[in-house]
């Protein structure tokens, strides 16, 4: 599985994404969130993964803003506030300007965070990311668990479909009321869970037979390239992230005093 950001060391987009997430939530609002979202979507589009990242952002930000607006329009206190000057009409309901700005602010921050992390989801191969982390000292057991989990997910989806089909062939009804569906759940979940647990015994034997050592760091036949310029850029990103957090904490402490 290859990713759109494969020309970079996976730790570089990860550091940039984390910086954007922190900036969106800790910087001056709403401009830091707007800037973080614009950068996240701009980079995603420039790297050829704009549609995927936009879909991820929309799936979270749009329902959130709608729910927040509906909540403001239907809850008693917001209706009272909305009756004042500057209220905005949404259909037959009225929402205060402050509530609309709040809802947009929350969605912008959320969209920026999902958009930035969307680079990793859409553009970085998880296996490559795990290898890069292993080269930075991630223990072998952590790397194994992450990679094996990523590989086990599609296999489990396939097996879940097989179990569903097999049980339906045996006459299992998956419709009707909640009690009937709960009975169906027990008949579907049981074989799936038991088969996955028993399979883990075979995997453990295979790991032991290969002399798997959970504590040792793994070497790589083909190490992931990490150019000097990229290492420096990453150091700057981490530094900026720490500085941003320190500034936010100092501001909060001043406010508390």
């Amino acid at each position: 599985m290859s990713g759109a950001l494969d020309r970079w060391n996976p730790l570089t987009p990860l550091a940039a994404a984390l910086l954007l997430v922190v900036a969106a939530y800790t910087g001056p609002q709403p401009w830091s969130a707007v800037a973080a979202l614009a950068i996240a979507l701009g980079v995603a589009t420039g790297s050829g993964m704009g549609r995927r990242v936009l879909a991820l952002v929309s799936a979270v930000a749009i329902p959130t803003v709608l729910l927040l607006l509906i909540m403001s329009a239907t809850s008693g206190d917001a209706s009272a506030a909305g009756a004042g000057a500057g209220a905005i009409a949404i259909g037959s309901a009225r929402v205060s300007r402050a509530a609309v700005l709040d809802a947009l602010g929350v969605s912008l921050r959320l969209g920026a965070a999902v958009g930035a992390l969307g680079w990793i989801v859409a553009g970085v191969s998880p296996r490559r990311l795990t290898r890069a982390l292993a080269e930075r000292g991630l223990p072998a057991w952590c790397a194994y668990v992450l990679v094996a989990s990523l590989e086990a997910v599609p296999e489990a989806r396939r097996r879940a479909r097989e179990v569903q089909d097999a049980q339906r062939c045996r006459g299992l009804s998956t419709g009707g009321g909640v009690p009937g569906r709960l009975r169906a759940l027990a008949r579907l979940a049981g074989p799936l869970a038991v088969s996955l647990v028993t399979e883990s015994e075979e995997r453990a034997l295979a790991l032991d037979a290969r002399g798997f050592d959970p504590r040792r760091r793994r070497g790589a036949l083909a190490p992931i390239a990490d150019r000097r310029g990229e290492r420096l850029a990453r150091a700057a990103l981490w530094l900026a992230l720490v500085a941003l957090l320190a500034w936010r904490i100092a501001r909060a402490l001043r406010g508390a005093a």
Binding site: L56, A59, V60, P63, T64, L67, L68, I70, M71, T74, S75, G76, D77, D102, A103, V106, L110, A113, L117, G118, I120, V121, P126, L129, P139, W141, V145, L146, A148, S149, E151, A152, V153, A156, R157, A160, Q164, T174, R181, L182, A184, L185, A186, L188, A189, G190, L192, A193, V194, L196, V197, S200, E201, R203, A204, L207, F212, D213, P214, R215
Partner: protein
């Protein structure tokens, strides 16, 4: 919120100095996959529960709190990478679920259905109380899910504060979901080959 976190810290801190046995390590990826697969089956059956923690609770029950915590973290990280990055935000909730399920297993909660259901209620309450501050701080009080819709409905009907509505919504879903998950785990453990269940509970840690 601090009490569940304290319980988790104590439960995980004790065995943290030694790695998980190989059998437990091999079980974690299957449990992560189980979380996703059962979540899909629950959605296909149109059940009002998520069932996305069954794998985490199963590992916690078979291996202990550390196994549950590792499974919870890996599960939300992997699903965050594969499905939606918003799941990263709920890693603390899965840590609480894994740790408390491990503690419940040590107290023998998965030996009978009523005890498993009771443990599920406790885990559900702790999970809900852990998720509410995250939902309020990051999502403005509503997540784009059934719980978010319940929060909006509660505020509209009862006129209560956002925090209280989010709390009740989270409690109502988690207190239904986690007992059912724990009962499923108890049923699965009862069906496991005896040698496998005992190996998982007593497997020695791998030493270099």
């Amino acid at each position: 919120m601090s009490s569940p976190l304290l319980v988790c810290y104590v439960a995980v801190r004790m065995p943290a100095s030694r790695p998980l046995p190989t059998l437990a390590l091999a079980l974690v990826p299957r449990a992560v996959a189980l979380n996703l697969a059962l979540g899909a089956i629950a959605a296909a059956l149109k059940l009002p529960v998520y069932l996305d923690s069954v794998g985490t609770i199963l590992v916690a029950a078979l291996v202990g709190p550390l196994g549950g915590v590792v499974t919870g973290i890996v599960s939300n990280s992997v699903l965050g990478l594969l499905v939606s990055p918003q799941l990263f935000a709920f890693i603390p909730v899965t840590i609480v679920i894994g740790a408390l399920a491990g503690v419940a297993a040590r107290l023998g909660a998965f030996r009978s259905i009523p005890a498993a259901a009771a443990a599920g209620v406790v885990i559900g309450v702790a999970a809900a109380l852990t998720s509410v501050p995250i939902v309020i701080a990051l999502f403005g009080g509503v997540t784009p899910s059934g719980t978010g819709v319940i929060t909006v409905a509660l505020r509209a009907v009862l006129g209560i504060s956002l925090e209280r509505a989010a709390e009740i919504a989270s409690l109502s879903t988690d207190v239904l979901d986690k007992p059912l998950s724990c009962v499923l785990v108890a049923l699965v453990i009862a069906r496991l080959p005896r040698h496998l269940a005992s190996r998982l509970r007593t497997a020695p840690p791998v030493r270099p």
